[in-house]
């Protein structure tokens, strides 16, 4: 596996094995994520992408073998948007349960504007459309200071323009010394190196 051997990896997994429902999803999966890398986990539906990401971020603690070492604050965005339907986008961001930062009002407004939600800052989130709802969650990417991002299908329900914008952001984050591990069923169009982790074959390439 490549990467700058001088620095220590942000995230390292050692011989991860997972069996679910009697099917072996992956075996002896070892890889290291260094600053400046963008990893895309690939695989068909049911290949084990979500399971892997949950193991990597520490939410799954039972039922798998191997070890994960994480040396950096991380930001995890999962399938569910973690957006409270009764709160407004502004409140959702400023009182976020993740408690990783205290953001000023202007920061929050500019993040919401970046995800195309200016004008929607103060309506309850349950009146937003499916894509807008997910965008509130994505706004956290513009606020986060964590170096390591673990994103599970961040493009789901997002329109084409939104996907382009997000890809630009991911590139910028990686170029600025961050790292991204993400899943997506779409091919990424970013102008930086993408490393693939193909779960279908169970190999890290």
């Amino acid at each position: 596996m490549s990467g700058d051997p001088a620095s220590s990896p942000l995230l390292a997994s050692q011989s991860l094995c997972l069996i679910r429902g009697g099917r072996e999803l992956f075996r002896e999966l070892s890889f290291e994520v260094y600053a400046g890398q963008l990893w895309q986990i690939e695989g068909l539906n049911g290949a084990g992408k979500t399971s892997l990401i949950r193991i990597l971020c520490g939410l799954s603690r039972f039922g798998f073998e191997g070890e994960v070492v994480c040396n950096s604050p991380l930001l995890y965005l999962g399938h569910q948007p973690a957006v409270k339907a009764l709160l407004t986008p502004r409140e959702n961001l400023s009182w976020h349960v993740s408690g990783d930062g205290l953001h000023s009002n202007t920061q929050i407004e500019s993040a919401l504007a970046r995800v195309g939600l200016s004008g929607y800052e103060d309506v309850p989130c349950h009146t937003l459309s499916a894509g807008q709802h997910r965008r509130v969650n994505l706004a956290r990417l513009f606020l986060s200071e964590a170096a390591l991002w673990l994103l599970d299908e961040p493009f789901a329900a997002i329109d084409k323009e939104g996907v382009d914008e997000l890809q630009t952001l991911l590139t910028a984050h990686v170029k600025a010394g961050g790292a991204v591990v993400m899943t997506s069923h779409q091919a990424l169009q970013v102008n930086c190196d993408v490393r693939f982790l193909n779960l279908g074959a169970g190999v890290a390439a």
Binding site: L74, V97, L102
Partner: protein, 228 residues
């Protein structure tokens, strides 16, 4: 951006939970309305035994408080689990012990505190003698806090299950019983002129124990539930 202090974070969580409750005014008034309705149900159901009601007012009020706590504590973490907020809370760098206390605190403010403050009205409806009102309020204040903490344990353990609704009650009703016994004994004592101090002291001791231990169990339960 600046890193928030732990205390600041907890206060933010508390405000968030309270605001969520306030957004649906029905949520706040509901325990009260439930309380009022069951107070009304009792004479209807027990009919001819009405004159006995005064003697039973203390216990009845406490049972209703307990039930209305039971009904609401199931939901403390459920919506956060369903929309993914709970995952984010567990990944947060903040100490889970304190975050959990903020959730429970908000729950208690919206149910226990309100119930305790409103209880004299219901007590009068059930003919509870006036000299026991103070004890009733005090015992409810202390007791419902313990109930909220214990209820949180059940809620945390069952939040990941597909349909845990009534399982929670099975898990925590046995734990509620000592609180019920001391709480109603305190009020009953006050009715018959026995000083309620010792009972209230025991309730306070239970509260201390619960504050110290319950958040640990809740935190452990949440970590398990998120993984189920």
């Amino acid at each position: 951006m600046s890193a928030p202090g732990t205390l600041q974070f907890c206060i933010r969580l508390l405000r968030r939970q309270l605001l969520l409750a306030v957004r649906r005014p029905i949520e706040i008034s509901n325990p009260l309305v439930f309380f009022a309705m069951v107070v009304a149900l009792f004479p209807l159901g027990l009919g001819p035994a009405l004159e006995n009601l005064a003697g039973f007012a203390a216990g009845t009020l406490w049972i209703i408080a307990l039930l209305s706590n039971l009904l609401t504590s199931d939901a403390v973490f459920r919506s956060d689990f369903e929309d993914g907020s709970l995952e984010q809370l567990l990944l947060s760098p903040q100490p889970l012990y304190l975050s959990v206390l903020a959730y429970i605190g908000a729950h208690w403010l919206m149910t226990g505190l309100l119930l305790a403050l409103a209880s004299p009205v219901f007590a009068l409806l059930l003919n509870l003698p006036g000299q026991a009102l103070g004890t009733l309020v005090m015992s409810l204040l202390l007791g419902t806090a313990v109930l909220s903490l214990l209820g949180g344990i059940g809620a945390a353990l069952t939040v990941g299950l597909k349909r845990g609704g009534m399982l929670t009650s099975l898990l925590i009703l046995p734990l509620y019983m000592p609180v019920l016994i001391f709480g109603s004994a305190a009020v009953q004592g006050a009715v018959s002129g026995i000083p309620a101090g010792p009972y209230l002291a025991i309730l306070a001791a239970m509260l201390c124990l619960a504050i110290a231990l319950a958040p640990l169990a809740i935190a452990a339960g949440l970590r398990i539930s998120i993984d189920a």
